[in-house]
């Protein structure tokens, strides 16, 4: 299913999220099962199915990585369930170092400072990768789409690091 089509939006990575939000709400209202209380079984079922599709589509388009994955899937590059190992040694070494930095936060003299320092690094790196991703998806050539897939994989590591950092922050607050 083409989620962009469902919301009648252009299939692009750069998306107006406010517009997506209002179209989502309008479609939700239109297909809300309450509107089909008196309808036939078939139409009621259709409204339930359609509501589920709308929710899935909104969820996927709202988040940049899922949106990029959907866009790539539409272009014939399915990467969302791949189990292939990632093997770029330079990138992985950097990930290792960032993980080590995370590990050292709780024993550092000023954990808040340490968190801030990692947070800034992660933010900076994410920004660079997202910018490259947007450019690769915009170019939309076979080569650039492969490049975009590689960038999505890298960004997943950074989103995971962000999640780990937030867990550490929570633990320190408790």
């Amino acid at each position: 299913m083409n989620y962009f089509q469902l919301f009648d939006l252009p299939a692009t990575f750069e998306l107006d999220l406010t517009e997506l939000g209002s179209r989502y709400l309008a479609l939700q209202r239109k297909f809300h099962p309450d509107n089909y209380a008196a309808a036939s079984n078939r139409d009621r079922l259709m409204s339930v199915q359609q509501t589920a599709n709308i929710n899935d589509a909104y969820h996927s388009l709202k988040q940049p990585l899922l949106r990029a994955e959907h866009l790539l899937a539409l272009r014939g590059l399915k990467i969302s369930h791949e189990q292939r190992s990632f093997t770029d040694p330079v990138f992985l070494m950097q990930q290792m170092e960032l993980r080590e930095q995370l590990e050292e936060i709780s024993t550092s003299e000023d954990p808040d400072d340490a968190i801030m320092a990692v947070e800034q690094q992660l933010q900076q790196q994410r920004k660079v990768l997202l910018k490259q991703l947007a450019a690769a998806l915009e170019a939309n050539t076979a080569e650039q789409n492969q490049q975009a897939a590689e960038l999505v994989r890298k960004l997943k590591f950074f989103f995971k690091l962000q999640h780990e950092l937030e867990l550490i922050e929570q633990q320190l607050q408790d």
């Binding site: 369930h81 190992s85 093997t87 990930q95 590591f157």
Partner: protein
């Protein structure tokens, strides 16, 4: 999700955690990662002149199954030739640790890590 006893054992008492000096010519390093879960795995082997893996160390950031898989592999490769170590299959790892289907990718990661380390060693020797 319940971990098997073997996974818990390796997780609580991981074997061969750590790093070797990277500039030592007898050391080779395999680095792999799984984008889906963000796991990162480093596996190092120390190979002697006869091409036998004398020692191995790992460092893994990931779930219990990923740590157990890499810990197990470091035990398995010790004393093996490079060719023998190359034969280690993820299915053997998954079977030994009784990994559930959703954790099979952790054993794939460990297999790829040892293969990457062997490739690194051959490249070091060849180049």
């Amino acid at each position: 999700m319940a971990y098997s006893n073997k996974v818990i054992d390796h997780y609580e008492n991981p074997r061969n955690v750590g790093s070797f000096a990277k500039d030592d010519p007898s050391i080779a390093t395999g680095m792999v990662g799984a984008p889906a879960c963000g796991d990162v795995m480093k596996l190092q082997i120390k190979v002697n002149e006869q091409g036998i893996i004398e020692d191995a160390k790992f460092k893994t950031y990931g779930c219990g199954s990923a740590i157990a898989s890499s810990s197990l592999v470091t035990e398995w490769v010790k004393g093996k030739s490079l060719d023998e170590a190359q034969q280690i299959k993820n299915t053997d790892i998954a079977h030994e640790l009784a990994l559930p289907p959703v954790k099979i990718h952790c054993s794939i990661l460990a297999e790829d890590a040892i293969k990457a380390a062997i490739a690194d060693y051959k490249q070091k020797r060849g180049g």
